[in-house]
Amino acid sequence: MSGVSLSAEVETAVKLFDCRDAYSQTLEAMAAEDARVCAVVNDSVSSTKLKGFQGKFPERFVNVGIAEQNMVGVGAGLANGGMVPYVCGASCFLTARSMEQVKVDLGYSKWNVKLCGMSSGMAYGELGPTHHSIEDIAWTRVIPNITVIVPADPVETAAAMRYSLEHVGPMFLRISRMPVPKVHGDDYVFALGKAPVLHEGDDVTIMANGVMVSRALNAAKLLEAQGVRARVLNMSSIKPIDKDAILDAARTTRGIVTAEEGLMAGGLGGAVAEILALHHPAPMRMLGLPDVFAPTGSAEFLLKHFGLTAEGIVTAALDLVGAK
């Protein structure tokens, strides 16, 4: 830590954040203000960063143990009893292990339960596909009544958490542990179903969410150097999705690149393609995982492996606009 060169590196590096901190701090703040707010976890107190919550609000903290079906059902019962439960766990288990409870107890029943899926996508890279959660967006998005949000940075994570308490109905928030820079100013206001424009452009549109948003912004800078003006939209609101922004991009730019840390089928790529196919077919490139499980490797390695980098986005965008 005392080496001069190391300090210099740290000073010049972009500051990165673990969005779980913003989520857990916001949850604690909301619990302090609203007695309905409670948390349910499946043993994973530390990986959900809820030790602080547990210490401050022990009577509103439920650890059901390693039991995800029960965890989601308990959430529904807490909502029945007038509480607003935040049901938190590693996204791979939270969604897959309790899928029928998510469908019946939350989606169909419309209980006001917030699912917070931690360490989603390929954040647990080295642990392998059992712990990757590349399917969670597709699974939750197809269930009626469930709102799906994929925040891009700590600012949006906090804003989406705040919004979730106002929103009445089941919701899935996909919260990564992969370090990301801030892409929003501190005055950012989350609006459900609206895709913020983070970079203006009318040659091509890049639609990204989660950890891919900062990479999309980097891609826009690289494209700008090549004379291609890219519009960057943060598609954090997967459901409802900003249909107007998608159609506007289809009409006013030469094509759309989607970039996501998960399966394209059923994910952001699929959602955008559904809108385009029905309302305004337009050239499109999808970046994400094809119909495969990811190999093992660090999260960064896996993103590169699937071309989920600024350079990968640039290549897809140039392909769309017909550049060499």
């Binding site: 079906q69 029960n70 308990v74 529904a76 019962g77 029945n80």
Partner: protein, 318 residues
């Protein structure tokens, strides 16, 4: 309301009668009957009316779960009409109400008939059971029907929800209770035992699990499928205060359910030993009647066996 039109549109030839007590009688039997014996007799009669109502609904829809409707009728009657549940049909969303979760949601015929008898909605609505766009789905939908606390049908959902309800009451510092009725075959779903562990861990003595132990599941007897015995010992091992009774004995049901929790600091489990198809000889203890559909002739036979034919409040007309 939409249901009125639907009810009128029902086939007139169906066997509908005044199977449920009339409007003027829609109050808790606990309040209306003087003396324990009178109360038990009234509950028995009410339960048999609910049995015939459920069978008539199943005949109407050609779908349903007769066996479980009949095995659970006495439990449901005791809960809703015997003064056990602190609920108010006029205010189904009253925050302080006891929560009853019908985890065996497939027995909706008996459940809906009981809710109508308690006054949650007009009994005429029962005639729309499973009709297109009816509020009476094959399995209960809380967003459609007052008095339904949870959407159930897939098994093993109600117990965890009831645990959540009991935790909510505790977090809010309120005195209402959570009751859940499960089937016995249903307990093969692992989610129930996840819920049981959490109920014990949190010492939820405001939670009452009632098991309709009719010993038959869809395909066969439970003990031929996946052995459930010793069920009381299982619940006891999971930290519940367990009592086991004849689930058709209203006096015993009342006695136990009016004095929960069985033990302070522990969740309660009442194993109600029942007979699937109870009260109707051709359906009793026969796996085929899990979802058997009675014919009109069988309805008449059932009415006779249930002691309802010729009774003033039943009009059997084919």
């Amino acid at each position: 309301m939409a249901w009125e039109g639907r009810a009128k549109g029902c086939d007139a030839h169906l066997l509908w009668g005044r199977l449920i007590l009339g409007d003027d009688e829609r109050m808790e039997i606990a309040q209306s009957e003087s003396g324990a014996v009178g109360r038990v007799e009234a509950l028995k009669r009410k339960a048999n009316q609910i049995r015939l109502s459920a069978m008539t609904m199943t005949n109407h829809s050609s779908l349903g779960h007769t066996g479980g409707d009949l095995s659970s009728a006495d439990i449901l009657t005791t809960l809703y009409l015997g003064g056990v549940l602190r609920v108010d049909p006029e205010k189904p969303k009253w925050e302080q109400r006891d929560r009853f979760i019908m985890s065996k949601g497939h027995c909706s015929g008996a459940f809906y008939s009981t809710l109508a008898a308690r006054g949650y909605f007009p009994r005429e609505m029962l005639k729309t059971f499973m009709d297109p766009l009816s509020m009476l789905n094959g399995h209960p939908d809380r967003n459609k029907l007052p008095g339904v606390e949870a959407n159930t049908g897939p098994l093993g959902h109600g117990f965890p929800i009831a645990v959540g309800c009991a935790l909510a009451a505790r977090m809010r510092g309120e005195g209402w209770r959570a009751f859940v009725l499960t089937g016995d075959g249903e307990l093969q779903e692992g989610s129930n035992w996840e819920a049981a562990m959490s109920a014990q861990h949190y010492g939820l003595d405001n939670l009452v699990v009632i098991v309709d132990r009719n010993r038959i599941q869809q395909g066969d007897f439970t003990e031929n499928t996946i052995r459930m015995d010793p069920l009381a010992a299982k619940f006891a091992a999971f930290g519940f205060a367990v009592e086991e009774i004849d689930g058709h004995d209203h006096a015993a049901l009342l006695d136990r359910l009016l004095r929960v929790p069985f033990e302070a600091g522990k969740p309660s489990c009442l194993i109600a030993n029942t007979i699937k198809g109870k009260g109707v000889s051709f359906a009793e203890n026969k796996p085929a009647w899990h979802h058997g559909v009675p014919t009109k002739e069988q309805l008449v036979m059932a009415a006779e066996e249930l002691g309802l034919k010729g009774v003033d409040d039943i009009e059997v007309s084919l």
